[in-house]
């Protein structure tokens, strides 16, 4: 069951190319500076921002890699209830959007010490908390794929523990660790929410500033530097992804977990719980304290229902559009080139994708339709949906593609032989086969879109949408902590519901 590859390439190209063309178009536009100061490129500042982005990424990769590897090792190799509990605790930061953590921890530190934290240091801490679970899970999975038989054979030949790790475990673990490091690096360079909340002068935050001031040439240069920083990492991740070593042992079995020893267990539990507390429980507690303090002081709370409804509309409607558009490339068996194209814009910083679409829309409107076309693109949410789809296509592509692969042309032939109409195949065969993957893709879309920030800020507000992410951003900037607290807690709640639904769906599918 295949389509011609043309529609798939058409959809993918239509999503990937315009933001890149928009970036180029913005670079060619005459700078508009009504203040007549001059919006020429400040190369020194652009390169300084690039240097800061790379430095931030490097520190986060090293710190997250070290801590995540230790936690992943313990999760896979050590037994005991304390270790099991701590392993779960360390994954709790996944529930809290990283910019919410940044906002909460920054104010917590300021209230504790009387001074706000240094932007770069705070950004490192928050991004490490956000990415440690990724490394931990990747390493644990990689370790479970190693072979106990190989390790036992090495031990029986007199190899020390260190030699076994070096010669047997490390070659199998290395690709997983390399991939997770590259993904962490991409995450750190592309991050917007954390660096915006903490006012760190890196590429993504500088780009948003430049776009907001319509300094399009500066924004385009910063976008080009972000593109140049991200692409090599993405290419390396793509290469490393397929380099898992071949299985060399028959009847492979993972090494059973064993006791770690008192001190190691204590250190593991302390670190893992520390990650969970700092990355999830503490931010939730801080947000709750803002709400409680606001209530106790009799402050007026802004109505949270409209932004909640906007969030649900964006998450639900956006995820529906995302799945619908993504179905075409997912339905097509298009090979590695199409797979690569699908992932192309997903590795770019979201602010770059949003800016690219903005530039493309302005360019198209000026060429073709004038104000009405531009107004329609901005106010109808069309640009918003396109930007979401370009940025998050890869998130939903995997589960969608998996479900479409279950369709077998022979089923359609069988239905035709039995004399049933084509709609019967659709109703009784295709839709039930595709539904699990499609619903997983939809829920994944809901989870990522509910908390999305930079695209929503740039393209959502012109469409009249002010979701919880915007409310948190706006109220935090105004130091209205009580309103920011409500928005943050609701945002975490919406994401948690989505994740629980995903888990429940996976659990019921196995039964």
């Amino acid at each position: 069951m295949t389509l011609s590859r043309l529609p798939a390439w058409g959809v993918t190209t239509a999503l990937v190319v315009p933001p890149l063309l928009g970036l180029v178009a913005a670079a060619w536009q005459a700078p508009v500076d009504p203040y007549a100061v001059g919006s020429g490129v400040r190369w020194d500042r652009a390169f300084a921002a690039a240097g800061s982005s790379l430095w931030l990424a490097l520190v986060v990769v090293v710190a997250s890699g070290a801590l995540g590897t230790f936690l992943g090792w313990g999760q896979a190799r050590w037994s005991g209830k304390a270790v099991a509990f701590a392993s779960i605790a360390a994954s709790l930061p996944l529930v809290v959007p990283s910019y919410v953590t940044a906002a909460a921890l920054s104010r917590f530190w300021a209230d504790l010490t009387g001074a706000p934290p240094s932007g770069m240091a705070a950004a490192v801490v928050v991004l490490v908390l956000a990415t440690v679970p990724l490394v931990q899970l990747t390493v644990a999975t990689g370790l479970r794929a190693t072979s106990a038989a190989e390790e036992e054979a090495a031990a029986s030949l007199g190899a020390s523990d260190a030699a076994i790790v070096r010669a047997v475990v490390w070659p199998r673990l290395r690709p997983a660790l390399a991939l997770s490091s590259l993904l962490v690096g991409l995450y750190a360079i592309s991050d917007f929410g954390v660096v915006a909340m903490l006012d760190v002068p890196v590429l993504t935050w500088r780009m948003y500033d430049a776009v907001a001031r319509q300094q399009l040439l500066r924004a385009a240069v910063l976008g080009g530097l972000a593109f140049a920083a991200v692409l090599p990492l993405a290419a390396l991740a793509w290469i490393v992804r397929g380099q898992a070593p071949a299985q060399g042992v028959a009847n492979q079995r993972p090494r059973p977990a064993g006791p770690a020893g008192g001190l190691l267990t204590s250190v593991y539990v302390a670190l893992a719980c520390g990650v969970g507390i700092a990355g999830a429980l503490l931010p939730i507690g801080v947000l709750g304290s803002w709400v409680a303090e606001g209530a106790s002081r009799g402050l007026l709370f802004a109505d949270p229902v409209p932004p909640l409804l906007h969030t649900l509309a964006i998450a639900g409607g956006g995820a529906t559009a995302l799945v619908g558009i993504s179905a075409i490339p997912a339905f097509t068996r298009g090979g590695r080139a199409l797979e690569g194209a699908v992932y192309a814009t997903s590795v770019l910083p979201a602010i770059l994708v949003a800016f690219g679409w903005l530039g493309a829309a302005l360019g198209v409107a000026r060429l073709l339709g004038g104000r009405d076309l531009y107004t329609f693109l901005m106010s109808s949410g069309t640009l918003l949906v396109l930007a979401y789809t370009a940025r998050f296509l890869a998130e939903v592509h995997g589960p969608l593609k998996t479900s479409f692969l279950r369709l077998d042309p022979r089923h359609q032939d069988a239905v035709a032989v039995l004399g049933a109409p084509p709609t019967a195949w659709l109703r009784w065969v295709a839709l039930p086969a595709v539904r699990p993957g499609a619903s997983t893709a939809f829920l994944l879309g809901v989870v990522v879109l509910a908390k999305e920030l930079p695209i929503t800020l740039l393209l959502g507000t012109p469409a009249g949408l002010q979701p919880l992410a915007f409310r948190l951003w706006d109220r935090y900037g105004e130091a209205l902590w009580h309103d920011a607290g409500v928005a943050g807690l609701l945002l975490i709640g919406v994401g948690a519901v989505g994740r629980v639904a995903l888990w429940w769906q996976g659990a019921t599918r196995l039964t």
Binding site: G114, R213, Y374, E478
Partner: protein, 332 residues
């Protein structure tokens, strides 16, 4: 019909005037670019929607962002009305011929001091530039006597400011007029040598002063009044006669020449300078009304008690110098 005439005249050097007539059936919501925050303007816009039976599509953002967005969009802009935290930013658009002349019903009720002589914008409320002090950290005898004192090294590590905020930019523009560009640059360098903490807006500075994170913040007067639960933060106007730190600034509104619904926009603008909205600004947001006869809040000091600087109002509209200095200092 009049909207078409307006659009046709968009390139005319003389800005066309908007008539304040009852609009025909509105075509979609009225689009407002608001450089004033949702927390300040949202409740007022809700009331205006009910009062005028009109649907408003308000897009919030930094004033400078909204101005440059409008300028970039040009004739494609969907904005029917633009509200700025400081009218200097509106004057930038006026100089580019992007604003329509406002009708008499909008301008007539307003104190003439707060109306653009060319009739391209109208003030909607006034705000006094002050410093907010941590009263526990700054004894009365140590309080700065002049804005120039902020460059004194004794304030190192104790200052806060919001360089991207429209009010600070307008104030810098006024300093350029009063002191000249070079002296203002020197003063700015002196303040920067004190490593002021950077905040996105004015409210966080008031919070910071109240928590003792900073000793002095450079803000507009009303933010402190809006913080009902303050404990140690106080407003301070400089005691030096005619000091450059004591400046009254205006928020205001204007109608772009490209507006699709200029008559409706004029209705909304007229409503913003009408007594109910002016009372809202005075009693709810603690600002100075621009309409004669509307009383300021009891907690807000009368302007007659402040040693206001004698500054040419047009200096508050020339932001070129301010933006240039901020850009040079990498503060934007």
């Amino acid at each position: 019909m009049f909207a078409l005439f307006l659009l046709a005249c968009a390139t005319d050097a003389t800005a066309p005037e908007v008539t304040h007539e009852a609009a025909a059936t509105p075509a979609g919501p009225l689009v407002i670019y608001s450089g004033r925050s949702e927390s300040l303007m949202g409740p007022l816009f809700d009331k205006l929607e009910q009062q005028l039976e009109i649907e408003l599509d308000v897009q919030y953002g930094d004033t400078a962002q909204m101005v440059t967005r409008l300028a970039t969009e040009g004739d494609e802009s969907p904005a029917d009305l633009i509200l700025a935290q400081e009218v200097g930013h509106l004057d930038v658009l006026a100089k580019q011929g992007r604003l329509a002349a406002l009708p008499a019903p909008v301008l007539a009720p307003v104190d003439p001091r707060f109306v653009d002589p060319e009739k391209h914008w109208v003030g909607t409320s006034g705000r006094l530039r002050v410093v907010v002090l941590d009263s526990q950290a700054v004894a009365e005898a140590d309080r700065p006597a002049s804005l120039r004192d902020l460059a004194d090294p004794r304030w190192k590590g104790k200052l806060g400011w919001a360089p991207t905020n429209g009010s600070m930019q307008s104030h810098l523009g006024a300093l350029c007029s009063l002191w000249g560009e070079d002296v203002t640059r020197t003063w700015l360098e002196g303040v920067m040598a004190n490593e002021p903490r950077r905040y996105p807006k004015n409210s966080p500075q008031v919070e910071a002063a109240d928590k003792g994170e900073i000793a002095i913040g450079w803000v507009n007067h009303y933010y402190l009044h809006r913080k009902a639960d303050r404990s140690r933060a106080i407003n301070h106007s400089f005691p030096t006669e005619g000091d450059a730190g004591n400046i009254l600034m205006l928020s205001g509104g204007a109608i772009p020449v490209s507006a699709a619904q200029p008559e409706r926009a004029a209705e909304v603008l007229a409503a913003l300078v009408a007594e109910p909205a002016q009372t809202y600004f005075a009693q709810e947001t603690f600002e100075y009304p621009v309409r004669p006869g509307v009383k300021t809040h009891d907690n807000v000091p009368a302007l007659s008690t402040v040693k206001l600087a004698d500054v040419d109002p047009t200096a508050l509209t020339d932001l070129r110098c301010a933006r240039k200095l901020l850009d040079e200092a990498d503060l934007l």
